[in-house]
């Protein structure tokens, strides 16, 4: 089981309580599709992804970015049991969406960079360590039910 200190819990809940989902979600997902273009394979039905501009202004991608970011809410509320919390989502990503679990890390890295840009120097090395620990646990839980 993953151990969290009080400080780590505070850092994570604090970041999420002031998070602008409508801003960060779209930015993180579109950055992922631009920086790692092979991730576009999962978004064939989303419309025009031909270039960076198209991706950045695609409303389907924006909406999906918000949805994915809200998906993290459950982990924030259940930090002591992220693995069980995401069992169903893991099955969904494996059986229905067929997402290569390596891609979770790619999106997670882009989310880190978008949050870093937003928080500026407030995203200290200590906060970065906690944030990345949290995302690593989420990523691991999402990949858990693949077989």
């Amino acid at each position: 089981m993953v151990e969290w200190t009080e400080q780590e819990r505070t850092i994570i809940t604090s970041i999420f309580s002031s998070l602008d989902y409508e801003d960060i979600g779209p930015k993180a997902l579109s950055r992922c599709l631009i920086v790692y273009p092979w991730t576009q394979r999962y978004f064939g039905a989303f419309g025009n992804l031909y270039n960076a501009e198209a991706i950045k202004t695609n409303p389907n991608i924006a909406a999906h970015g918000v949805k994915v970011l809200h998906g993290l809410d459950r982990a924030v509320k259940n930090m002591d049991n992220i693995k069980a919390t995401y069992a169903e989502l893991s099955v969904l990503h494996s059986e229905k969406l067929h997402v290569d679990p390596d891609n979770f890390k790619l999106l997670s890295d882009c989310l880190t960079i978008v949050i870093a840009a937003k928080m500026g120097s407030g995203f200290t090395p200590e906060i970065q360590a906690t944030w990345q620990k949290f995302l690593a646990v989420v990523v691991s839980a999402l990949g858990r039910q693949y077989h």
Partner: protein, 144 residues
């Protein structure tokens, strides 16, 4: 080998021109974050009396590493040839596991996003990511 297109190289050179004045800061912060967020990387610095992310040895080393990156930008048209000596150093003397190049690169990107939130667009991000990956490959050239 990651092929850097002309567009990639232009993007890297243009962004570097904007940020090179802060190169030392970028270097210090990148290394500090690497040591703080990925504590396993401290194993390479057991010879430092002070291994803390913001200690003097870490700050000095961050500058050294970033000077190497700056040099690589100027040799972007042939990284393998340009970084030959550095590759031999890393292969035979330092023997840093190449997986760590990716870790340090990630932290450089995070610092660039923090220091240059407007300029570090997704387009610049992908070019810098590709460049740092190519740099890492060139550094690992002499390993085996």
């Amino acid at each position: 080998m990651t092929t850097l297109t002309a567009k990639d190289k232009d993007a890297v050179r243009a962004f570097w021109a904007k940020v090179s004045g802060k190169s030392e800061d970028i270097g210090k912060q990148s290394l500090a974050r690497m040591l703080a967020v990925y504590p396993q990387t401290k194993t390479y610095f057991s010879h430092w009396k002070d291994q803390s992310p913001d200690g003097a040895p870490a700050r000095k080393h961050g500058i050294t590493v970033m000077n190497g990156v700056a040099d690589a930008v100027s040799k972007i048209d042939n990284l393998t040839a340009g970084l030959l000596d550095l590759s031999e150093l890393h292969a035979f003397t330092l023997r840093v596991d190449p997986a760590n190049f990716k870790i340090l690169a990630h932290n450089m990107l995070v610092v660039m996003a923090i220091m240059f939130p407007i300029e570090f667009t997704p387009e610049v991000h992908v070019a810098m990511d590709k460049f740092l990956a190519s740099l890492a490959l060139a550094l690992a050239e002499k390993y085996r």
